[in-house]
Symmetry: C2
Subunit: 386 residues, 2 copies
Amino acid sequence: MKLNIIALVTILTFSGLLCIGQSTQTAVVKDFKTSATTQEGKEYPQVNSEGRVRVQISAPEAKMVQLDIGAVKYDLIKDENGVWTGESAPQDEGFHYYQLNIDGASVPDPNSLYFYGASRWGSGIEVPAKDEEFYTMKNVPHGQVREHTYYSEINNSTRRCFVYTPPAYDQSGNKRYPVLYLQHGGGENETGWSSQGKAGLIMDNLIAEGNAKPFIIVMSNGNWRMPNVPRGERTAGSWPPKGWADGFMNSLLKEIIPMIDANYRTLDDQKNRAMAGLSMGGMQTKAITLANTDVFSHVGMFSGGSISLEDLEGAPGFKENVKLLFISYGSHELDNPRRGSGKEPKENTDALKAAGMNTHFYVSPQTAHEWQSWRRSLYQFAPLLF
Amino acid sequence: MKLNIIALVTILTFSGLLCIGQSTQTAVVKDFKTSATTQEGKEYPQVNSEGRVRVQISAPEAKMVQLDIGAVKYDLIKDENGVWTGESAPQDEGFHYYQLNIDGASVPDPNSLYFYGASRWGSGIEVPAKDEEFYTMKNVPHGQVREHTYYSEINNSTRRCFVYTPPAYDQSGNKRYPVLYLQHGGGENETGWSSQGKAGLIMDNLIAEGNAKPFIIVMSNGNWRMPNVPRGERTAGSWPPKGWADGFMNSLLKEIIPMIDANYRTLDDQKNRAMAGLSMGGMQTKAITLANTDVFSHVGMFSGGSISLEDLEGAPGFKENVKLLFISYGSHELDNPRRGSGKEPKENTDALKAAGMNTHFYVSPQTAHEWQSWRRSLYQFAPLLF
C-alpha cells in the first residue's frame, strides 16, 4: 500500500509536469511582434509579451529544424508548404545570441541581423525590456561612432577601434573631453559595445537629459594574439586568450591612449581617464588599472569580478588615486554562483567602501551574463564619471 | 555519309564538352586559401587561384547541401562525419554575395562575414583580384568612417549615413575639404560602400600615393519609402523603390547636404561638391544632378546608365557647370546588353565629349554588375575630382 501511494504520487507528479508542459504550450500569448533585430522587410523573428522568440524558415526537404537559444533547442513545426515555425520559452529581457539548427547544421537565421559574440558573427534577438527607454533611438542630438583603423607596432598588425564622440563634438571648437576606455567580453570584439551594447544611444540619451557629462568612449579590440601566430591559432575563441594581459595592456598604454590623445580633443590627464569592461573586459580593466594607478581615475567592472582589499596590497596608490570603483552583475549571475561569484563582489566592494574608497555596487534585475546587464551597467556608471 | 560526318562531329563535340566538364572537375587546382571574408578563426570558405569558392559545413542529418553563388547551385559532398564540402566554378575576381542551401532552406554560411546586398544581410566572398593592391589595407595614414545618425523631417524617421573623413582631418585645423556624395545600388544600403566597396581603403591608398586630393565622402541610405508606410511595405527590396526620386533628392538637398556642411569642415560651393553612385545610385545621381546643376560639379555613374545629348535639353546649365562626367561599366555588362546597355553608354559619353564636356568612359575588365566594377570605378574616378 505504501508503495502504491508513492507510485500514485509519482504518477500525479509526472502528470502534473506534463500538464504544465502542455498548458505552457497552449497558453502562448498571441501578441508576437517583429523584433528590433529582424532584417528590414522580414516578418520573423518575432517576440511576444512573455519574451518568447518565434522564428520561421522555409526548409521543405528538412527532417528537423530547431531554434537554439539560451542553451536550449526548441523544435519547430512544419506546415504543408514546408515552412517551419516555432518559439522558445520566455527569455530574459534584452539581447540574446541564437541560431537555427537544420538537420544538424547550426546556421544563422537568414531573417535576423548579425552580431559578433560567442566567437562568431551570427544571429541576435532583442527582447523588449520594460526599461528599454534608456537605449531607445530618440530625436535627440546624436554623437558619432567612428571606425578608427591604425597600425599596431606591438601586434605587428592593423587593428581597429570604434570611438564615440558626443553630440556637438565637431561644433565645440577647442573644447576638450574626458575619455572612457570601454572593453567587450570574451568571444566578442570591438563592435559589441556600439552595436548590441547600444553605448552610443545610452550616452546620447543620458547627455540629452543632462544626466551625464559628454565624454569620448574608445572601444578597442581586447582580443590579443602574439605576432606571427598563424591564423588557425588565433585566440578570439579560446580562454584565456594567450598574452592578452601583457599584450593588450602594452598596446593600450603605449599605442591606443597616445593615439587617441593625438587625434581627438581629449583631456589627457589621469583624472579625466576612465576604464571599464564587461566579463573578460572587466578582468582586463582590473589588471590594467591596478597596475597603472597614475593613468585611470574611474574604474568599472561589469560581470567581470571585483577588487578586494588584498588586491590593493599589490597596487600602491589605487585606493588614493581612483575616484570611483564601480562593480556590477546581473542578478541571475549572483543567484547562480557558477556564473558569477555569489556574495563576494558585494562583500569586496563594501570592504573597499569601508576602507574609504568611493565604490558603487549595482545589480541588474532579472538578467544574467548578457548584454542587458551591461547596458544597464553603463547607464548606471556613466553619470558617475568625471 | 554526309549525315554520318555531321553525326560524328556532333558526337565528338558533345564528347569533348563532356570531357571538358570532367577534366574541369578533376583539374580543380588544389591551392585553396582561407578568404578575406572568412570569419576570424574559421577555415572555410576558401578560394583557389582559379577563383573557385569552396565551402564546408557540418550537417549530419541533411539530404542535400548546396553552395548558391552567381545564380548557380553547386552540390556539396558529405563525408563519413556528416561534413559537407564543395566548390563552385571559377568566379570573377572581386566580391560576390552567396548563400548555402540545406534541405531547401537558404541560409547564410555560418563561417563567412555578412554584408548587406540583394536586399538581405548575408554571406559574401572575396575572390582575390590581380589588381587588389589598390584596396588592400596598408600601413598608410587612414581616414575614419563615421556612423552619423540624424533625424529626417522629410522621412519622419531616424536615418543614418556613413561619412569618410580623410587622413589627418582631425589634425588639420581649419582646413576645409570638398565632398563626394556616393550612393549604393538597389537592394543595398548605406553600409555597402565602406564595407564591401572598400571606399575608405581605396581613398587612403590613393591619397598616400598622392594620386587623389583628400576629400570627404558621404554615403547615405538612398532607399526611400514615404512616411507612414507600414513596415511590411518597405521598399528596400522592390524596384523601383516608391518615391525615391523625389524623396531622396529632397532629403539630400534640404537635409543631408546642409547637415554635412554644418557638421564637417566642407568647402560648400558647387565646384567642390560631387555626386556618384552605382546602379540605382547612378540613376539617382543622373536624376539629381541633371535637376540641380548649381549644386554638383562632378558626376559619376557606375553601371547606372549614361547621360545623352537629349537628356541635356531638359537640364540647362549641366553642360556648362559640370566639370566632369564619368561613366563606367563592367565589361561583362557591355558584353551582355541585357545587363547593361551595350554600346549606348560609350556613344552617349562620346557625344557629350564632342559637344565640349569633360567626359570619361571606363570599362572594368572581366567584371559584371558587381562590386569589383564599382571599386575600380571609384579608383578611376577619385583622382579626377576637385
